[in-house]
């Protein structure tokens, strides 16, 4: 009963004309940026983050999440039509989606993507609406010790899953932690790593860090690479309809994918990429004929698409219920909440019900908009792909410059963005990924704060982290991750010597 009245509240917020308009704008902008080559969901959110500061908090979050899943969806469109995945997660869709397009079944692939994304998203939203409030009662019993260990767990997971191995992930996280410490120490008020620059006293601007690492670095890596020309053929609705057999083939993979994605999304430190990757691997394993994968198997697009959309939604569970972001995108969302003066944590759902439930309802409306928009507008997305990169990249860089500047009206932040852009490029060539760095950047100050507070409350007794049962469970999970590194390293060494 409670759920229904809450959802009614949510829809009353999300169905106001302004909220609908903002949801539509977010989804559309997200799709446009997501379709463009070389721009993923994180870049899209980072670029448009400053614009949302001028909206009220609920609307800002509705817009940001619209951009997020819109961009994820746009990325899939680009991968299917052009084999130009904007993000690693849509690269998995390209594995089977592009071969389908080459076989003349691009329309079917696009519609199946839209349908399975919608199904996966809906399942994720249902879980979000039921699990998040339940998790709140657990989270309310959290003290600083649990907060510290659950964040540690998130970072361990991010390190474990980082591309290039745990050592590289660890380096990225540690760098992020240090960058996060710049500025005034919340407990003593003294400035750390200020180096005499008054601009650094408030810490590094998160928007500048994100835009540099993900926007500028992306552009720098892409200039000069030929992006190819698309064949702009028109598509009719009739071509897009999957046959009944094809539809039946997608049901089980969609459900399996949604299940995988929902679980992966809730875990801290894992991202959408892991969700689609695991769903694809699972489909390949359960398939009667695994050879079809990579050659246009419809399961190969429906499972990962359902999975990443389910994960996209369930990733909001820890973010909104506990206040701990699971991946880089959620870290940005959390940052946006803080900028709007809302302290993330278990009290958000009860103190701001219209924010939480409005967001939940708008997710569903947004997913519906995506489904509806995708069908008539495919032609426009294809046209967008034919914009030459020589016009695109100056526009992106300039948008980033103006956007960063408007956050604090500070030209210093533009330099910070450039610095992190160059760092992001260097990291790319060093095989370090930027997502764990951002997670460390956001979690670092919170972790330190909780660690110090936990020890002060326990009068300096380190056992506090083991004596509290939930905290001990988190620590055991951390230990399991560490053991997995050793086992993987040993296996790799044995494989090399053999």
């Amino acid at each position: 009963m409670d759920l229904i009245s809450n959802l009614a509240l949510g829809f009353s917020v999300a169905l106001t004309p302004m909220a609908l308009l903002i949801c539509l704008a977010g989804v559309t902008l997200g799709m446009v940026v997501g379709v463009l080559p070389g721009l993923g969901a994180i870049t899209a959110i980072a670029m448009l983050l400053p614009v949302t500061f001028y909206l009220e908090p609920t609307h800002a979050l509705i817009m940001l999440s619209g951009i997020y899943y819109g961009a994820a969806f746009g990325g899939s469109t680009a991968s299917i039509l052009m084999n130009l995945p904007g993000t690693p997660s849509s690269a998995i869709t390209a594995l089977d989606g592009y071969p389908m397009a080459q076989q003349g079944k691009a329309g079917v692939a696009l519609l199946v993507t839209a349908l399975t994304s919608f199904a996966g998203g809906t399942i994720g939203i249902i879980l979000l609406a039921t699990l998040a409030p339940a998790l709140v009662s657990v989270a309310l019993s959290f003290s600083s010790a649990e907060y510290f260990t659950v964040m540690l767990l998130g970072l361990m997971a991010a390190v474990t899953l980082a591309s290039g191995g745990p050592l590289r992930g660890f380096i990225a996280v540690a760098m992020g932690l240090l960058f996060g410490l710049v500025g005034a120490d919340p407990q003593t008020g003294s400035v750390r790593y200020g180096f005499g620059l008054p601009e650094l006293f408030d810490g590094l601007n998160m928007v500048a860090v994100v835009m540099g690492l993900f926007g500028v670095a992306e552009v720098l890596a892409n200039i000069g690479r030929d992006n190819g020309r698309p064949s702009t053929n028109r598509m009719t609705l009739r071509e897009m309809m999957p046959s009944r057999a094809e539809l039946r083939q997608t049901i089980a993979p969609t459900l399996r994918g949604s299940a995988v994605g929902s679980i992966v999304g809730i875990l801290p430190g894992t991202g959408v990429l892991v969700a689609s990757f695991m769903a694809y691997a699972l489909e390949k394993r359960v398939a009667r004929d695994p050879d079809r994968f990579g050659k246009g198997a419809i399961e190969g697009i429906s499972a990962p698409e359902a999975s990443n959309n389910a994960a996209t939604q369930t990733a909001f569970i820890p973010t909104l219920a506990i206040g701990i972001p699971g991946d880089a995108v959620m870290a940005i969302m959390l940052g946006a909440l803080i900028i709007h003066g809302i302290t993330p944590g278990p009290t958000v759902i009860s103190s701001q019900p219209e924010l939480f439930w409005g967001l939940v309802a708008s997710f569903w409306i947004g997913n519906l908009i995506l489904l509806v928009m995708n069908i008539p507008l495919v032609g426009i997305w294809v046209k967008l792909l034919s914009i030459p990169y020589r016009l695109l990249f100056p526009s992106i860089i300039l948008f980033i410059c103006v956007g960063v500047y408007t956050v604090n009206f500070s030209t210093f932040d533009v330099f910070v963005t450039l610095g992190f852009g160059l760092l992001g490029l260097a990291m790319r060539y060093a095989g370090l990924s930027a997502a764990p760095l951002l997670l460390g950047f956001v979690l670092g100050p919170m972790m330190e704060n909780h660690f110090r507070r936990a020890l002060t409350l326990a009068r300096g007794d380190l056992m506090v982290f083991l004596e509290r049962p939930i905290s001990a469970v988190f620590l055991v999970l951390c230990l399991l991750f560490a053991i997995s590194w050793i086992l993987t390293a040993r296996k790799a060494r044995r494989a090399r010597t053999a």
Binding site: L178, R390, P394, C401, V414, Y429, A430
Partner: protein, 144 residues
């Protein structure tokens, strides 16, 4: 087996450089005690860990990395962003955007003069419309 691939060297270099700055900046900070942890404990611990990880990279096997980035985009995109930051307070949004667009376009050999100028004007008008008129922000449009 070549352990010192440029990819590993770069990773180690980045880690060691950030760790060195971290240690340098945290050197004089107060460590505190377990009961009352000082502001220096966390930064020093993380910097030391990063230092060890940076050294640990040398134990990794060299793997073929991506191609080296081209210098031209780095130079011109950096120049464009610096020009934007310097010109905005002096010349206003219009001049800063057009100049930065022109510099930015130099990063690619495919750019064309007239087209780039048109893009710059279009972007400046777009930003003015969105941020100044749309969101009502107080950004100077023209030199004072």
């Amino acid at each position: 087996m070549n352990r010192f691939s440029s990819q590993n060297l770069l990773a180690a270099g980045l880690a060691l450089a950030v760790a060195a700055i971290g240690l340098y900046g945290a050197w004089s900070m107060d460590l505190g005690s377990l009961r009352r942890i000082g502001q220096g404990a966390f930064p020093q611990a993380v910097s030391l860990l990063l230092l060890l990880m940076g050294l640990g990279v040398f134990a990794l096997r060299a793997e073929p990395g991506p191609d080296r980035p081209a210098l031209r985009p780095i130079v011109f995109v950096s120049a464009a962003m610096i020009a934007f930051a310097l010109l905005l307070p002096l010349g206003g949004l219009g001049i800063a955007v057009v100049a930065a667009t022109a510099l930015c376009a130099c990063a690619s050999s495919e750019s064309r003069v007239v087209e780039t100028f048109g893009l710059g004007v279009l972007l400046a008008a777009g930003f003015a419309g969105l941020f100044v008129y749309g969101l009502g922000l107080n950004i100077p449009l023209l030199p004072e």
